[in-house]
């Protein structure tokens, strides 16, 4: 019996060591960043993929883009709390909170993507359990094993870890065809309409009050930490806006944003219908995301608009010249 127990212990030890090693072959990018950030950040933005529109090099700021595609406002709150807890933010940092039209109507545990492509699984990869909504150790183990699988496949077959939402995979294309009866449309306008309809159709008004509560909590906690929250809606192309204008989503959205802005006396900058961007196709990679040119244009405008807040940041932390965007 002793010999057998030693045998089992040997197998379990092997399993533990090899799992640990394989898991750490490639740890999630966000986890790495959290370990490697050398200095405190002057500015951070949260948000969905619309948060990728921000670029702090324009303003020579030490900033961190902490957004993630399809994110929920609940996890924006958790990311801020995590950054605050591990002291990655300057005491007077700016916290940019990009809020998207669909932010109100989503559930933080939604599983419209297959298991282990869902954005919630991403948070399981690096966030402490206390920040995870309905944390379960079974799911944590599943995600860990999924990461191990992906790491080994990467080493063996050279396939990189899948980006969270890979629209080019055959599996995604097939799912789309199954769901909609036809392939995803092509062309800027057609995709824009398709995405807008998809975003609008996937929302549930039952989540509005819950998400409003999370956003208010986020704003109040940022203020309580003596930092400056800035609410923003990034630029969208008019083809995207067309499907939201006049809907319950936008009515509730603006009602919420104005209410929070007034209640907490925080700035709310709305670029969604800004004529400098919204009708200029050349600034967008798709209907609701800016391309490189668009980001340059937007960030130039944006940081001018929040100049009064930027000026208050301690100068010694500003990024050096070499990080400026080349013209």
């Amino acid at each position: 019996m002793v010999r057998f127990l030693l045998y089992i212990s040997g197998l379990l030890l092997f399993l533990g060591i090899s799992s640990w090693y394989l898991y750490h072959l490639s740890i999630p990018h966000e986890a790495k960043i959290l370990k490697l950030i050398p200095s405190k950040q002057q500015v951070i933005n949260l948000g969905t993929s619309h948060g990728y529109d921000f670029d702090y090099r324009v303003a020579r700021l030490n900033g961190r883009n902490a957004c993630i595609g399809s994110n929920s406002i609940y996890y924006d709150l958790q990311v801020f709390r995590l950054y605050d807890e591990i002291e990655l933010l300057n005491p007077d940092a700016l916290v940019i909170i990009p809020v998207s039209y669909f932010t109100l109507g989503v559930d933080e545990n939604r599983t419209d993507w297959p298991p282990h492509d869902c954005f919630v699984d991403f948070y399981y990869s690096f966030m402490p359990p206390k920040y995870i909504h309905n944390y379960s150790w079974q799911k944590d183990t599943e995600v860990a094993f999924y990461n191990i699988k992906e790491n080994v496949k990467w080493k063996l077959f050279g396939t990189r870890k899948r980006p969270l939402h890979s629209r080019q995979t055959r599996a995604f294309i097939n799912r789309h065809i199954r769901k909609h009866g036809k392939p995803r449309p092509k062309g800027f306008m057609a995709i824009g309409e398709h995405v807008a309809k998809g975003h609008l159709g996937g929302l549930d008004s039952n989540y509005v009050s819950m998400n409003t509560g999370y956003l208010k909590t986020l704003v109040s906690e940022v203020l309580a930490s003596d930092r400056q929250p800035i609410l923003v809606t990034t630029p969208y192309h008019e083809i995207y806006n067309k499907h939201f204008d006049g809907t319950w989503v936008l009515n509730k959205y603006y009602a919420m944003m104005n209410e929070i802005s007034e209640e907490f006396n925080v700035p709310y900058l709305d670029y969604s219908h800004d004529s400098r961007f919204t009708s200029d196709r050349s600034l967008f990679s798709d209907a609701d995301h800016l391309n490189k040119e668009g980001k340059r244009a937007f960030n130039t405008v944006f940081f001018q608009d929040i100049d009064e807040y930027v000026k208050k940041l301690s100068r010694s932390e500003r990024r050096p010249e070499k990080y400026l965007l080349k013209k």
Binding site: M1, R3, F4, Y7, I8, G10, L11, F14, L15, S18, S19, L22, P114, P115, H116, Q138, T141, F145, Y146, I148, K149, V152, K153, F157, T169, R170, A171, I173, N174, I177, R178
Partner: protein, 482 residues
């Protein structure tokens, strides 16, 4: 609880520890522990199911004792019928009630008459097809005086509810398993280690081979109207590996777990896809069920002793009942009928016992004739699996029609061929190991030949393969639905 879940990974060590440390040399304590553990295991799905297995156990235990006391033939027969009616009644109600009602309604409708009995919302108890057959084999053997009835209720309940094989077999004979509950079980390191290896091999078959093949087989079968030609043939082959990996994997885990507790269960699969003809296939596939039908249905009906017509009748009965045992769909019956049609010629020309040895007995590789036979047999079996997997006869015929019509070799835009490459390598590896281990109890047992350290490392490698290549989502064992 499923074998491939964390629940079972916790359950088994607890039972193992209590069994050998607390139970130790006390048979009755160990048997009682097995009963408790088995009822917990079974009740994990739904505690209400426990009443059924308890009922079945008590009926057959009582019938067994009464058979021992009864001397009149008529009384003995009546007692046997009580057991058969009770067990088949349970099975018939939970599994086939709605099937018969629906078909009666359709039959009456054909003649323009209305028959409304109303189908019921019945939950099929997990494993009912297995344990009812297991208990019936006890009473039948006692009736035939092949077995002495037991008066140890705990041992009998442990035999009926023995958790490793309770929900998906092997369907154990009382003459094999029941005596093991009377004897002192000995713990030996070699047996326990072999048990662990077999469990791991079973998990590999289930979680890596079966579940990965299932991802694509399900896609192809569920959307078969979007495919034609080769992808559909590939779907049938993938399902063949899915069901083999799933079912034989479960059996391996069951047998391996039993070994950990000092029990020996019967072999349920003997590398059936290396069969050279259909008769050999049925000597190697789901052995516990096929031998059950042979001993308790085929032989009592006369077997092959009553002339050609009787033989044909009996063979069709066996295969149709075997198909029907799997579920309440005409597709299962069709699957059985296909195998009957494939088996019958061999039986009639007396070539059904031609291939009794292991293929390529003293050689590394099969000769061309053996290879051709194996591939042909596998193709026929895979074809029959189409009916087994299809939801309806219409779907099965549409599937086959699409497979053989149009351009055979074409690439479908709906399949992820790059991911299929990974599955292909896994299946090839699996087939190679099974081939090398075809003379053993299970494929991975070939590592017994290796020196101690290499055997340990091979087991570690197997664990790693399971961890890395397991399918992303947990799928229930196919045979749980039976």
């Amino acid at each position: 609880m499923l074998f491939n879940t964390l629940d079972f990974a916790i359950f088994l060590p607890v039972v193992f520890t209590l069994y050998w440390l607390v139970g130790r040399k006390q048979i009755k304590v160990q048997n009682a522990l097995i009963v408790v553990a088995s009822y917990v295991f079974y009740g994990w799905w739904d505690w209400r199911f426990l009443t059924l297995i308890l009922f079945s156990s008590l009926v057959d235990y009582t019938v067994g004792l009464q058979l021992n006391n009864a001397t009149e033939k008529s009384k003995r027969k009546a007692l046997l019928w009580i057991s058969i009616v009770a067990n088949l009644g349970l099975l018939g109600f939970f599994k086939y009630y709605n099937f018969f009602i629906d078909n009666f309604e359709q039959a009456f409708a054909l003649f323009g008459m209305e028959f409304r009995a109303g189908s019921l919302d019945i939950v099929l108890p997990v494993g009912i097809s297995f344990y009812t057959f297991q208990t019936m084999s006890y009473t039948i053997d006692v009736y035939k005086k092949k077995l002495e009835p037991t008066n140890d209720l705990v041992a009998f309940m442990a035999y009926v509810s023995f958790f490793p094989q309770l929900v998906a077999g092997p369907i154990e004979r009382a003459s094999n398993l029941l005596p093991q509950f009377y004897r002192q079980r000995q713990f030996t390191f070699q047996k326990a280690r072999d048990g662990v290896q077999q469990i791991l091999w079973g998990l590999f078959k289930k979680m890596v081979i079966a579940d990965n093949c299932a991802e694509y087989a399900n896609q192809i079968f569920n959307y078969h109207q979007d495919f034609s030609g080769w992808p559909l043939a590939m779907g049938a082959i993938l399902f063949a590996f899915q069901i083999y990996g799933d079912f034989s994997g479960y059996s391996d885990i069951a047998i391996g777990t039993s070994r950990l507790l000092g029990f020996n269960l019967m072999k349920n699969f003997s590398f059936p896809y290396f069969s050279r003809d259909i008769a050999e296939f049925w000597r190697r596939w789901h052995i516990s069920l096929s031998t059950w039908f042979r001993d308790y249905l085929y032989i009592p009906l006369g077997g092959s002793r009553g002339g050609k017509l009787i033989t044909i009748r009996n063979i069709f009965i066996i295969f149709l009942v075997s198909g029907f045992w799997h579920g309440d769909r005409w597709t299962f019956i069709a699957w059985g009928a296909i195998h009957a049609l494939l088996f019958l010629p061999l039986q009639l020309i007396k070539r059904n016992r031609k291939n009794l040895d292991v293929v390529a007995q003293n050689r590394w590789l099969p000769n061309p004739r053996e290879l051709t036979s194996m591939l042909l047999t596998f193709s026929l079996v895979s074809f029959a699996w189409i009916f087994f997997r299809a939801e309806s006869m219409g779907q099965a015929s549409e599937y086959i029609s699409n497979m053989i019509s149009g351009k055979f070799f074409n690439r479908s835009p709906f399949l992820d061929y790059s991911a299929l490459v990974e599955v292909r390598y896994l299946v090839i590896f699996f087939v190679i190991v099974e081939w090398l281990g075809r003379r053993k109890e299970y494929g991975f047992q070939i590592v017994e030949k290796l020196p101690g350290l290499f055997r340990f490392l091979a087991t570690c490698l197997l664990i790693l393969l399971i961890v890395v290549f397991q399918a992303m989502s947990v799928k229930e064992f196919i045979y749980f639905q039976f």
